[in-house]
Symmetry: C2
Subunit: 445 residues, 2 copies
Amino acid sequence: MAVHLPKGTRDFLPRQMSIRTRVIDTLRRVFTRYGFDAVETPAFERIETLTGKYSDENDKLMYRIHKRGKNAKPGDCDLGLRYDLTVPLARLVAMHPELRMPFKRYQIQPVWRADRPQKGRFREFYQCDVDILGTESTLADAECIAVIADALSELGFKKYKVLLNDRRILSDFAQRAGATTTQEEMSVLTAIDKLDKIGAERVRQELTDRGFKAEELDPLWTLMDSEATNEDCLSQLTTMVDKRGKDGVATLREIMENLSNMGIPVSQIRIDPTLARGSDYYTGPVFELHVDEPKVGSLGGGGRYDGLVGSFSGKDIPAVGFSFGLERILVVMEELGMIEATNTAAKIMVTVFSDALRAESSRFANHLRTAGIPTDLYLGTGKFKSQFKYANARGYPFMAVIGPDEMDALKVTIKDLSSGTQHLVEQKNAAAFLQGYTTEVSPKG
Amino acid sequence: MAVHLPKGTRDFLPRQMSIRTRVIDTLRRVFTRYGFDAVETPAFERIETLTGKYSDENDKLMYRIHKRGKNAKPGDCDLGLRYDLTVPLARLVAMHPELRMPFKRYQIQPVWRADRPQKGRFREFYQCDVDILGTESTLADAECIAVIADALSELGFKKYKVLLNDRRILSDFAQRAGATTTQEEMSVLTAIDKLDKIGAERVRQELTDRGFKAEELDPLWTLMDSEATNEDCLSQLTTMVDKRGKDGVATLREIMENLSNMGIPVSQIRIDPTLARGSDYYTGPVFELHVDEPKVGSLGGGGRYDGLVGSFSGKDIPAVGFSFGLERILVVMEELGMIEATNTAAKIMVTVFSDALRAESSRFANHLRTAGIPTDLYLGTGKFKSQFKYANARGYPFMAVIGPDEMDALKVTIKDLSSGTQHLVEQKNAAAFLQGYTTEVSPKG
């Protein structure tokens, strides 16, 4: 019988899990430090909760579940798998009016999209979102950026850059280019969003082809290419835009000041007047985090989206959030060896010398476990030599042997499997020996 | 717009998440200590992977996903949501022949069953499985029991009982009652499995109704009701059964000895010759863990199932495992207050005295965060009084105030929100003050 995984999905074996778990635990720790609390939502939502919130194209990528029950016709569908974590959050908040605002939550869960699988793109992948609901304060925008920047540092990414812009500035330019409806504005923004991929010349051409006055956007390209400081850039922008755009500039100044108070040096922030971010629900500041070292580009972004959350509850709930490309980060960290992958979390494997000595080994394993040392006991039926091979292949740092001599002397031979050195230790001191040894040879423990 | 959750599913708000996360972290820690490593599998599997592995009745409870693509007809289905964690494990092992046996894995992930929702029964719920593949050693059976018993102790469950039996003993009794096929054997076992719910008299009646010689099973009821020690019980059983049943008895003796070496006292083990366990794939020992204090009954069980895992790979892969009722445990622990639920993990909320002092509060919050203290900064636009109400409602242990006086003196007022006492502290000593204070008033930290 041939067995396969569904297209675009993955199993995570212990080696991958050792990396994923440590990254996710680090993120949880940093988010908690900033006062974000966890929520989780079900894997599927009622189909009417999900549809119409994204674009038509995105709706097509949703996994739909067969409706059940006597009256269900083939092809009927009443549930869909979660497509992102933002719409479920909006639904959750509408159902829980008791939640105190501002509400800061993080959520790390898989989402599903029937996209065409490509390298690094999967149909099941984890999203990792921080959002702050119920406040218009620019402190909230800054905190979303600061917490992610801090998380990346903690994961070992050294040099990063925060790109900042405000949709209101872009909207003004779009109007001047001839956009008269929200849809036309989005059309201009979508073109600008391609700048990185296709360059200014082709963006300009695309805008002209769509009937917009492309030259109105030239100041954006000029500013971006100039060596202007953030402050110069903002000063120039504010002279070019209308009231709404000026509000955008003022907001960006506040966010930069907040970031500085939160320990993000001004040198790591760059005003990028061409930053658009794809989604059409952003209403104010937008931001992206780019990592220079190692060189991997954007690791996530976000912005303010004051309309979406309230759409379920009919209440006005301002919101700002940051979505984090967890899978991307995991792939990068694994490829660059930024995090040590291990086949097993156990520090030591206790061998079973013979059937007669099985009880002794079992008791010793229990002793180590009680002392808190991750310990594996050999459970196979292989001879000593095959136990040794097994231990090496699995990659335990240490192996323990209790033969007849060791047993009589209440001792144990502990073998360091990386160096090959052996140590004869009293059983009762073995846990302390390992704890000391581990600290000594691998400071990261 | 009315919003609802899909039937039988739940959101987990920060308060529930604070419990779930701690329980799951504890389980992960204990499993790791025993040398079990984590794996994860996708939420959905190809439908042919899932169907035919459970009973027909179970197959009906599976969530099916609409097939996609041009040739798909309405009602076509090629994927189904994971129904348990055992079949995905078997599929994973078949696809990864490089995995070294014995292979010890744990898996904590949700599964989905379109069961009728009842109190404590959901359509999305977490399973938590430990399994050991690739060995027939009874050490493996014992480790599955020991690791779960240890996990329960660590969670605060005090008195537990391990119930033990072996399917081969029951099979022999079933044959003597007239069962001639595997199906008929299962029919007898299913009746015995109801003993707890309906009592011996009605089980006997049910067996008679189905045409079995119910009286052949009477020794089981007698033994169970007797005050016989485990050893007496096993000695009597071994005289009653055939070769296969005698193997079962010998296996149980080995498991008990192993458990004792692993630190599970014999007094906590009970041979229960009527323990059947529902699933039809068990082939040898079966076990259940019952908790007496607090009184909550069975918290999970498992057994040896030597046929299932190999069914995908065509190889013979012996297996033993334990499945843990995580949702049940969480409900029990929350109801009995065995674990402290918190609305927020943040230890302190830093207020914002005025717009002019916003930067000062922001810098102070950053200072505490850098020291590793989970810190929330008030992000709303409310006056001081409403900040105080917010802090109380959210349940932070502490609140920090930096007014003009504090700022001038480089100090901060820290208010203990449970006692109401206030402390004027130098800002640079605040982190140490909180760390000391926390230890002092709440030893569990």
